[in-house]
Symmetry: C2
Subunit: 643 residues, 2 copies
Amino acid sequence: MVKIKFILENKEIYVPRGENLLEAARKSGVIIDAPCNGNLSCGKCKVKIIDGKVDTKKSHHITDEEWNEDYVLACNSKVVEDITVKVPRETFAFMKDVKIDDLSNQKDREIFERAKRQVLNNGMEFKSYVRKDYLEVDTPTLDDNISDWDRIKRHLRNHLGYTHVFCRLPMLRRIPQILRKSDFKVTITHIPRGNGRTTIVNMEKGDTSSRLFGVAIDIGTTSVSACLVDLYNGELLSKASSGNAQIKYGADVINRIIFSTKGDGLEKLNQAIIHETINPLLTKMFKSAQVDKDEVIAFVAAGNTTMAHLLLGVYPDYLRREPYIPAFLRAPFIKASELGIDVNPETFLYIVPSVASYVGGDITAGVLSSGIWASDKNVLFIDLGTNGEIVFGNKDFLMTCACSAGPAFEGGEISCGMRATNGAIDTIKISDKTYEPQFTVIGDENPIGICGSGIIDLISEMMFCGIIDRRGKLNRDLDTHRIRFDEHGMGEYIVVFKDEYELSKDITINEVDIDNFIRAKGAIYSGASVLLSSLGMDFSMLDKVYIAGGIGNSLNIKNSIAIGMLPDIDEDKFMYIGNSSLMGCYLTLMSEDGRHKLEEIANHITYVELSVYSSYMDEFVSACFLPHTNMEKFPTVKQLLKE
Amino acid sequence: MVKIKFILENKEIYVPRGENLLEAARKSGVIIDAPCNGNLSCGKCKVKIIDGKVDTKKSHHITDEEWNEDYVLACNSKVVEDITVKVPRETFAFMKDVKIDDLSNQKDREIFERAKRQVLNNGMEFKSYVRKDYLEVDTPTLDDNISDWDRIKRHLRNHLGYTHVFCRLPMLRRIPQILRKSDFKVTITHIPRGNGRTTIVNMEKGDTSSRLFGVAIDIGTTSVSACLVDLYNGELLSKASSGNAQIKYGADVINRIIFSTKGDGLEKLNQAIIHETINPLLTKMFKSAQVDKDEVIAFVAAGNTTMAHLLLGVYPDYLRREPYIPAFLRAPFIKASELGIDVNPETFLYIVPSVASYVGGDITAGVLSSGIWASDKNVLFIDLGTNGEIVFGNKDFLMTCACSAGPAFEGGEISCGMRATNGAIDTIKISDKTYEPQFTVIGDENPIGICGSGIIDLISEMMFCGIIDRRGKLNRDLDTHRIRFDEHGMGEYIVVFKDEYELSKDITINEVDIDNFIRAKGAIYSGASVLLSSLGMDFSMLDKVYIAGGIGNSLNIKNSIAIGMLPDIDEDKFMYIGNSSLMGCYLTLMSEDGRHKLEEIANHITYVELSVYSSYMDEFVSACFLPHTNMEKFPTVKQLLKE
C-alpha cells in the first residue's frame, strides 16, 4: 500500500500500489473535476504532485511549464509511491462549493418578481397545499379516556371540521410524548385533501404556526440551484447554488447513464446528487436563514429526465438505447426522506413531470414561470443548459425539442469555465488596439474563472478584434503577450495572468474551449431554426425570445447574436429570465393552481424529435461558425464585422 | 473478562467479571425464560453450571437435590470465572421453538371450518382486497415510445378499465428491468380501490397469477400463532406457533410496559417480537409451504393493545398510568416492511383495531370469528389469554371487560408449563387409589411439559382424589412417592419422573403453580360474573359459552367447571373455539366484508371497567378457591365431591 496526502483538503488515504490517482481521489472523497470520466479528452483533472512521483505521461492538456512544475492529469497517473497532491483551487471551484446568493441583487429580484406575476396575474393564487394549526387539546381523564390519536381526531373534527384524519407510523410514534411534554398544546402540520380529509405530517410543541417553510430546487446536469421559501407569503429566505457532484462521473447525461450501468454506478450517482449536492446545499441555506430542517415541509424539484431517474435511483439506461424509453415521466408519490434528503421525514417531494426522454421537468417548470402558456404572442424559449431545450408556442400550443449542447454554458468543458457565481468573470471587453481585456467579476471578488456570459463576451470580442477568425482559430500573427501557443500548436488567449491575483494558473481560453463553445451555441441555434422550420416558420415571425439558464445575469444579447447563438432579430425581443426551472418550482411550491397548470403544460406540450429532420445536421454544421456559414442570416453582425 | 460457554447452544461469550448470568445469556442470544425479569419471584431461569463456579445464593425455587447438582437461578448469579452452562431443555422449550401445526388434525379443522362459516353463512363473501393480473404489454418502438410506467398504465386502462393507477418508488425502481427481462410479459399484484383506481404493489416476470398469498397472525403476550393462506380460495397452507420472545423481558403486559420505559427497552421489545418471533415463524411457515416471502402480499395481525403498541414501536407507558390512555386503538396505514417484517416490501399490514386500553384487536378478531355479533342467543365469550378478556352479547349489543389472568393458561408461570404443542401433556387422569397419573401428549411425543388443558385436568383430578384441598394445598398425609416436600415445606406432585423419559428434571406441579393457576381461573370466573351482574344478569341466562385461547384442543369442560374456572351450567352450552383471534385475522385477510364487520365490531362494543365495581375484589377472592368459597354456585361439583 502507498499513501496519498491531499494537502489542501487535509486528507490521507492508503491505496494499493498502482492505483489510478483519479479513482483514489474519488474514494477518499476529494473531488477532482473529470467531466470526460477519465478518457483523457477534457484535461480538467489536472493536479500538482508536491512530493513523490507518479507513473504518468504528458498529454497535450499539460503545458511544458506545467509539466516542469509537476502538473499531471489524475486520470492518467498511477500512484507508485507515497505522494502529496495539491488539487488546484480552480479545478473544483467550478463545481463543488455551495454559494449563497445575495438576495438583494436587483436583477435577480426583477427576474423573481416577473416569475411571480406569471401566476398571480393569470388568475391563480398563492396558497400552499400544507397547513399549520395550533391546537389546545382536552387533557385526558378517567371519564374521557379515549386514545391520544382519537383525541386529536376529535379535536380536529369539532374545531376545524376535519372528519377523516390520517397519519403515518413515524408521526404516530411521536404523539404520546409530544402531547404530554407540551401539556396537550401542539401545532400540527397537515395536508388537507378536501371533503374533510387531512393527513397530519408533523406535530410540534406549543404554537409554531407562524413557521412553515418549503424548498424549491432545480437539479441541472452541471449546476444545482435551490431556494428556501416562507410558505405563508412566498418570501425568499435563502437562495443558493452548487455544482452537481455527479460531474465527477461524467459531464453530460449520456456519460452519466453509461456510468450508472457499471457496478454500483447508479447508487454512486444517486448518492452524489443527494448526499454530496442537495444535502450540503440545504444545510447552508437553512443555516443562513436560521430555519430548522424539520420545519421544511414542502419540497419541489425539477430536472431533466435523466436527472429525475438518477435522483430516484431508477435505472436510466433505456433512455439512451433505441427506442429511448424513460422508466417514467411522472414520479410516484414520494417523501424526500425516502431518498435521504435531509428535511422533515414526512415532507412530500413533488418532482415536476417530464415531457419526453430528453425534455424534462425543468422545461415544464420553465414554461410555467416564463408565462409562454398565457401569451398571445409567438414566444421562443431557450434553456441554455447542458441539455439545451427549446420551446416554441403561445397560449394555444406548445412545441419543444432538445439539442444536446453540453455543459459549456455553465462553464463545463471550458478550461477556465465556472458557474455564474462569485469570482466568475461575467463581462469582458477587449481593446482592438492593445488586445488587453477589461472585465467585471461577480461579487466584485478576485477572478477565478469565467462563466457563460463572460465566455460569450470573450468570443465575440475576440472575433471583432481579429484575435480569432470565424472558425474560432487564434490569429498567429498578432503581436501581443495575451496570445500564446503550446508545443502542439494549440493557441490560447490569456484573460488573467496568474500573478495578477495569486492564482495557481492563468485564466485562459484556448482553441479547444472555443470549439466546445461554438458547438454548444451551434446546437442551440440550429435546434431553434429546425423547430421553427418544421412549422413552416422562421425567426422573423418571433415576437419574444426568452433566454433561461445559469449562463449569468450579465448575458449580452448583442454579443450572443454576434457569435450566432441567438438569431439576428430585434434585440428588444430578447429577455433573460434566469433560472426559469427554479422559478417554476417556486411557483409550484407556492400555488396549487400553479401545480395544476404545470401538469396541464406537461400533458399538452408536443415533443419534436430533431434527429428525424434530415436538415438538422446540415443546419448544425452551418451554425458551427462565428456567427454562421451563411452571413446573410446575420446582417447586423455582417455590418459590424465590416466596420 | 471471563468466558461463558453455553453447551447446548454451542455459544461462547466473554463478559466482564461480575456480570449477571441472565444478562450475559441475553447478550449472547441464548434465551433463558425469565418471566419475572430477574426479580427472583418466578424461579424459571434455572440453569446448570457444568464447569466452574458462579457467585450465587440458594433460593426456595432450587431444591436441595438441584443445589447439589449445581443448579442456580441465572438472574441471581454473578459470573466470576470461566464457566460452562447448560440451559435445561424444559426452560426454553416452553417459549422459543417454532412449531408447525399438523393441518390434518381433525379438531383443528372443525374449529377452522366453524370460523369460516361465521363469515360465509352471514351473507359475506371471501374476496381478497389484493388482485393479480397477467399482462402482455406492447413492446416500445420509436413510434410508440411512451415511458414504461405510462405504458403499464395505458395497458391497464385499455384492457382492465383502471383509469388511475399508482405505485410507490420501490416498485417503480424495479419496472424497467423486469419489463425487459420478461419481454414485457408480467404479472402485477395490485390493490383496487374502486372508481377505476388501483395501486400496483408488485410485478413479477411471466404469468404468476395463480400464486397469491397472505399471512394472518395472532400476537399474544405469551404465544404467537400464524397461518399462511392462499388468497384465492382461503386454503390453509401452513399454520405455526411459537413463544413471544418478549417473555424474557417480562411475563405480562405490565412488566413489558415497565421494561419499555428503561433505556432502549422499547426498541428491544420491538426487535424481540419482530426479529426474534414473527420473522422466524414466517421463515418456517414459508419453507414448509414452499412459498417465497415476496409472494406474500397481505398481512393481518391482532394482539392486545400493549402488543399493538410494542409491535409498532409506540411508547406504551401511558397505558399503565392513570387515566390509562393508549396512543392509538386504530393503527395507521403501514407496510409490514416498515417494521422489518420479512415479506414483500409492499405488503400492507392491517392491524385489527383495539377496543380499549385492555381490550385489544385480538378480542375484536375473536368476536368476529366467534360469530357472537350474528347470534340471537346470549353468548359469553371467554378468551383465556394472559390478558383474560370476556365479551357478552348477541346481535344487538356487545359488552366487554378485561381481567388480568396472567400467562398460566398458556403454561406461563407454571414450573413445567408449556404451550399446547407437541410434547405437551394435554389430558391427565389420576387414580384415586394409587395416585398414579395417566396422560396423553400432543403429537404422541415424549412429554416435556404440561399445557393449559393438562393443568386443568391435573388440578381437578388432584382435587377429586384428595391430593390437594380446596385451597390447592397438598395433602401431607398421603402415602405416595408422587408427592414430596422441599426443605421450605413446599409440596409438589410429580407427573413424570425424569428418568422415565431422560428429562433433566421431573415434570411436576407445585403449590405455587397451583396457586398461580387458581388466581388465573379466579380472575376469569369473577370477571364474567361481575360483567353479567352489571347488567342484572347471571350465568343461568347464558345460552352459549365460547372458550377461546391457546389452552389446547383437549380442554375438558367438566374439569374446567370442577376447578371453578367456568360456571356450573349445562356442559352442552360450552364450546372450545380455539385461537379465535387468529381465526378472526384469517377472516379479515380473506374477506373485505369481514374487515368491514370487524371495524363495526370495534366501533360498537362497549367496554366495562371491572375495577369500578366494588364487588369485583370480593368476587375474585371468593373465586380463588376450588371451585369457589360458595359451593352453592357449583351444585354439580358439590355433588361430585360428595361422591
